[in-house]
């Protein structure tokens, strides 16, 4: 028990800590879920249902909602640590710096996935989409999108929380980076929901996977650079 934990073990410990805190309070999860449901409803009322079919409307609504709900959830990811500078305790401990990022990112993926587990059935019901096809199309895309969103968002929320305008900065920094996630996700979802073959959506999915890989690695490598020596 004297050797410092390896990267994966440390990441897992940090992830578990974050998830345990969230499970106990559940406040962030509930607010994000409520926001998501309200957004889905509000968007519906913003459109003329006779002019735009709900199958055409749904993908755009889902991904925009997902983006803003994701930002809401990410904002609290590092917020807890800012109280009493609890992050200093993490930094003093002999763990690889990347482990802090990976652990938090993992906890955020679980969080976002939980929100999606509510959002996708909700949109299926509210927008009257065929359930099997919708879930089969949206769930995997949503998971890939969540990875990209969390990869970038975890890093930026770690940075933003140390600045003067955290609530404004997090969206401002993140949204340009979310476009290569939202665009392919929305396009692929629209194609699959309309019944197009999977092969047509493959370029989008490949782009999404490439983004996830590049930015998961880049953000994990970049995180220690944001910390003081």
């Amino acid at each position: 028990m004297n050797a410092p934990p390896g990267l994966l073990a440390a990441s897992w410990t940090i992830a578990r800590k974050d998830l345990a805190i969230e499970l106990r309070t559940r406040s962030a999860f509930l607010s994000v879920v409520v926001f998501t449901l309200l957004a889905l409803v509000t968007f519906f009322f913003a459109w003329d249902p006779t002019a735009v079919s709900s199958t055409d409307l749904a993908p755009g609504v889902l991904w925009v909602t997902f983006t803003f709900a994701g930002l809401l959830g990410l904002h609290r990811s590092f917020g807890a640590e800012m109280q009493d500078r609890a992050i200093d305790a993490l930094l003093v401990s002999p763990v690889d710096r990347e482990a802090i990022y990976i652990g938090k990112a993992f906890a955020n993926v679980v969080f976002v996935s939980a929100v999606l587990a509510v959002a996708i059935p909700a949109i299926t019901i509210f927008y009257n989409l065929p359930i099997a096809r919708t879930v089969a199309a949206l769930a995997p895309i949503a998971f890939l999108a969540a990875i990209g969103l969390v990869a970038v968002g975890t890093l930026f929320s770690a940075m933003a929380v140390n600045t003067r305008m955290a609530e404004l900065l997090l969206p401002m920094l993140s949204l340009p980076f979310f476009v290569p996630i939202v665009l392919p996700s929305a396009q692929a979802s629209a194609q699959l929901l309309a019944g197009r073959p999977l092969a047509e959506a493959m370029p989008w999915l490949k782009l999404l996977v490439a983004f996830d890989i590049v930015f998961a690695v880049a953000c994990a490598v970049a995180y220690p650079h944001t910390l003081e020596e």
Binding site: V152, L155, M159, N162, T163, R164, M165, L168, L169, M172, L173, L175, P176, F177, V179, P180, L183, P184, Q187, P203, W204, L207, A210, F211, V214, F215, A218, C219, A222, H225, T226, E228
Partner: protein
């Protein structure tokens, strides 16, 4: 930042002879465009916006490259001068990107029939504008110089990584959803007179851009070595 004897470092002037020369170059280029370059018969006067728009875009790219390289250099060497160079490049890049985004639609509407075409290049320029702006806002939101330098350098490097993804996304989008363009002029090859004007404009603005970056860098250095109110 003082030398060992305690005397303040030489404050280089922001606007020296070289800067003045670059301003004269730009004025000369514009005079040539306005008075000594013929109008293009089929496109009309609006075609001359081209001599303003393209050099601004090239200057923006130059400034962005300075910002990106400065950021990388800072992350590697931790030299605050690299950070100041990145900051200068970023601010000047915002200026030129703004000019591109304003002259672009002013050129596009009369020539192409549309204010905005969402093609790959114009959309990427819009993104560069947003990212450069968020880079400067991030810097403005951090007081501690070390953190400011680290965070903005990380943002700059990640933004550089983002560019190919934006480009690919928009390109794929466009192949799926071609946007109709009302008028579609053939790309005219510029006759020699106009080509000369164009080349002069490009060099004049690139020169001016470099001088602006240099002036901004000197401003940063002056501030860092302690201005009147430190």
């Amino acid at each position: 930042m003082t030398n060992p004897a305690g005397a303040p470092v030489n404050r280089r002037p922001l606007f020296d002879v070289l800067f003045g020369a670059s301003v004269l170059a730009v004025i000369g280029a514009v005079v040539r465009v306005v008075y000594f370059t013929p109008f293009e018969a089929t496109q009309g006067p609006a075609q001359k916006i081209y001599y303003l728009h393209v050099p601004a875009a090239l200057s923006a790219y130059l400034a962005l490259i300075v910002a990106a390289l400065g950021s990388l250099a800072y992350l590697w060497l931790k030299d605050e001068r690299a950070d100041r160079m990145a900051e200068s490049g970023g601010e000047v890049a915002l200026l030129f990107t703004t000019v591109v985004l304003i002259t672009g639609p002013l050129w596009g509407k009369p020539i192409w029939g549309a204010w905005w075409t969402w093609d790959a290049r114009i959309t990427l320029t819009l993104f560069l504008w947003f990212v450069t702006l968020s880079y400067l806002v991030l810097r403005g939101a951090i007081d501690e110089p070390g953190m400011r330098a680290r965070y903005s350098a990380v943002l700059a490097v990640l933004a550089a990584l983002l560019i190919p993804f934006i480009h690919l996304s928009v390109y794929l989008f466009r192949t799926l959803h071609p946007m109709p363009i009302v008028l579609k002029p053939d790309k005219p090859s510029l006759p020699p007179e106009m080509l000369t004007t164009f080349t002069i404009s490009v060099f004049a603005f690139l020169f001016f851009c470099s001088m602006l970056i240099r002036a901004r860098y000197r401003l940063s250095t002056a501030r860092a070595s302690g201005g009147a109110d430190a």
